[in-house]
Symmetry: C2
Subunit: 359 residues, 2 copies
C-alpha cells in the first residue's frame, strides 16, 4: 500500500496522488508490447509533466520523449540530463517560439513537425544558418480531423519541400490517429512512404500515438514509433474503453466530504479546479473508488456533487478517492502531486515541472 | 484601444488578455446598481485571482472580498494591504486548514460559513481560545442543490448552535442562489431571519451572490450584501444569458492559427489548457470575436478546432481573439495574464497570484 490508511486520513485535500508502483507497471507493460513488436516508444509527457517519470520511461526503453509545446520541452529538458531526444509534435510559428526552439536544439536531439509550407518556411528561416539540420516530420491527418496534410500526395509534396529547405531535413511522418484507426494509418503511411522514397528521400520515422489503441499499434506495421501519453497513469476514459481496470489507475484525487445536505447528496472539496470539466464522452466527472452507486453529477470550481440512488452513506469529514475521467488535464491543474511507492519511504510532494506550459 | 494592432500581432500566443478599462467599467456598473439599492458588494475574487483588481473593486466601494478556499484568501491578503475584510464561503475542515485559518484571522477581519455542526465544531475547537470571536455565517441551500442547510428551521438550529459555541459568533446567512432564485432567497432568508431573531440572536448579514442574476439582486430586499465574481470580466455564458454584450468582455484569449487543413477548418494554438472544457450549457468552447460563422467545436489540450459552415478565410499565422465560455476557470489555467488599459503605457504581464489555490 503506497498510501497508508493514515496517509489517506491526514493528507490535506484535495490532493492529486500518484502511485508510482502502478505507473511503473503501466510503463513496463507497454514497453514490453512495443519491444515484442519492434516498435520504438516515445512517450508523450503531457500526462505526467514530470522529468522524474520521463526518466523511468527512458530507463524502461523509451527512445526519447514527445512534447506538444516549446515551453513544455524546455521545462522537461531543464529538469533531467537523461532527456536527450525530444520530438515536438506541434506546428511552431512566430519569432519568439522559433528562437527558443533554436536554443533548445543546441541542448538535445530535437525534431519537430509541419503540415504546411508556411510552418516549414519559419523553421527554415530560423535554422537555415545551422550546420546540423533540424529534422522536420510531416504531420498527416489520418482521420482525427485535427492538424495534418490530407493525403499521401500532400505528404509527399511537403516532404519534398522540407528536404529542399535550408537548415531542415525531412524527418519522417507523424500522425495522431483516430480511435481504432490502425488500418487508415497503415494505408496512408504506406502510400506516403512509397511516394516519398520514390523521390529518393528516406523516411526514417513513422510515428503514431495515443493510449486508447496502443495495444493495436502493431496492426499498422508501417509504424516505427509510438507515442502513448495517458498509459502511464490511465484514467476513467480508458477504463470505460476497456483498455485497463481501476487497479491500473496510478493517478487518483483524494477529496474530503465537506457537506451532506440531503441523505443522497454529498459535496466534496474537489471541483473543476481539480477534476476538470473534461467528460471524454463519459457521464459524470469521475469515479469514486469502491462506490459504483455514486455519480459525480455536477462540478463547480471548488465543489463536486456526489449523488447516489440510495442513501449516500457518507459523513462530513469522510474522504473519497476518485479516478478522474482524464488524467492529463488533472496534472495541469495543480502545482504539485503527492507521489508514493517505488521505494519512497513516505508520500513525497513533487512539483509539476511542466505544468501550464502553453506557449 | 488598450491592445494595439501591433500588440495583437506580436504577443506570444496563446495569451490571456485583460482590458482593464472594460473591467473597471464592469466594476463600477454593478457598484452603482448596488449603491442605489442599499446593497453592499463583496466581490468573489475567483474570477481574477489578482490583488490589484481586488483593490479596484475596493476603491469602487466594495466592503471586502469573498474567497472560496483558505489558500486563496492567504494569497490575496499577502498580495494587498488594502484587503482587510475576507469572507470564505466554504466549509473548512481539518487541522491544517483550521490552523491556517487561525493565522489568517490575526491579519484581517475574517468570516467563514458552516452548514453543519461538524464544521462549526472544528471552527470552535480552533478558535475557542481566542478573545475575538470568529463570525460564522450559516450557508443556506436556496435551490442550487449544492451545500447549505435545507430549511429556515435548520438555519435557525445551526445559528443557535454556532452562537453557543466557544470562539464563534453567528455572523449571518449566506447563499449561492440558483439562476432567477430571488423570490426563493427572499422567502427562505426572511423566514430564517425571523426565527433566529426570535431567539434573541442578531442577523447582521444576509449575503447572496452570482453574476447571472446580479441585476435582480434587489428583488430579494432581505439581502444586505452581494458577491458577484464573473461580472468583472464577463464571458460567453453571460452574453448568452443577455447579462452583457461582447464589448463588455474584459478577458479574451489571443490565439494563432497553426493549421488550415481543409477550406472550412482551422486549428489554433489554444486548447483545453487555455480555454478549458467548461461549456456552461453552451455549444462550442468559445466565441471568435467578429466571426459569428465560426464554431470552436472541439478542443484537445493544445489544439482548438474552428469550423465554419463556409470557407473559413483564415491562413496559418493569422490571429483570433476568443471570448471563453467561462472567464473564472481560464484565469486558473495560466501563470500570468497580459493586462492593458487603465493608464498602463503598454501591455503588462501580471502573475495570477491566487491561481491553483485549491486547499
Amino acid at each position: 500500500m503506497p498510501f497508508s490508511p493514515d496517509d489517506l486520513a491526514t493528507i490535506d485535500t484535495p490532493a492529486v496522488l500518484i502511485d508510482l508502483d502502478i505507473a511503473r507497471r503501466n510503463i513496463e507493460r507497454f514497453q514490453h508490447y512495443a519491444d515484442s513488436h519492434g516498435l520504438r516508444v516515445r512517450p508523450h509527457i503531457k500526462t505526467h509533466k514530470l522529468p522524474a517519470i520521463a526518466e523511468i520511461q527512458l530507463a524502461a526503453g523509451a527512445v526519447g520523449i514527445t512534447c506538444q509545446k516549446v515551453s513544455e520541452a524546455e521545462a522537461m529538458v531543464a529538469g533531467s540530463d537523461a532527456i536527450t531526444d525530444v520530438l515536438i509534435t506541434y506546428n511552431i510559428l512566430g519569432t519568439e517560439k522559433l528562437n527558443r526552439l533554436k536554443a533548445l536544439a543546441q541542448k538535445v536531439r530535437l525534431s519537430v513537425v509541419a503540415d504546411s509550407k508556411r510552418v516549414a518556411d519559419g523553421l527554415s528561416a530560423t535554422f537555415g544558418d545551422q550546420t546540423s539540420l533540424l529534422p522536420v516530420l510531416v504531420e498527416c491527418d489520418t482521420g482525427a480531423n485535427r492538424c495534418g496534410v490530407q493525403s499521401p500526395e500532400a505528404a509527399e509534396a511537403l516532404a519534398t519541400y522540407i528536404d529542399a529547405s535550408p537548415g531542415l531535413v525531412f524527418g519522417g511522418l507523424m500522425t495522431y490517429p483516430p480511435l481504432g484507426g490502425e488500418s487508415v494509418v497503415e494505408t496512408f503511411m504506406t502510400q506516403a512512404k512509397a511516394l516519398i522514397e520514390a523521390r529518393g528521400i528516406a523516411v526514417p520515422v513513422i510515428t503514431s500515438g495515443g493510449t486508447p489503441s496502443m495495444m493495436q499499434a502493431a496492426d499498422a506495421p508501417v509504424t516505427t514509433e509510438y507515442r502513448p501519453g495517458t498509459y502511464v497513469y490511465n484514467d476513467g476514459s480508458l477504463v470505460a474503453r476497456g483498455v485497463c481496470g481501476w487497479d491500473d489507475c496510478a493517478l487518483t484525487v483524494l477529496a474530503t466530504v465537506v457537506s451532506v445536505p440531503t441523505p443522497n447528496r454529498a459535496i466534496i472539496d474537489a471541483g473543476s479546479k481539480t477534476l476538470t470539466s473534461d467528460l471524454l464522452g463519459l457521464t459524470g466527472y469521475g469515479h469514486v473508488l469502491g462506490r459504483d452507486d455514486i455519480a459525480i453529477d455536477q462540478l463547480s470550481e471548488e465543489h463536486g456533487r456526489l449523488i447516489s440512488s440510495g442513501a449516500i452513506g457518507l459523513a462530513v469529514g469522510d474522504r473519497v478517492r476518485i479516478v478522474p475521467n482524464h488524467a492529463c488535464v488533472v496534472t495541469n491543474m495543480v502545482d504539485t502531486v503527492l507521489v508514493a511507492g517505488d521505494g519512497l519511504s513516505a508520500p513525497t510532494s513533487w512539483p509539476i515541472v511542466a505544468r501550464g506550459k502553453i506557449v
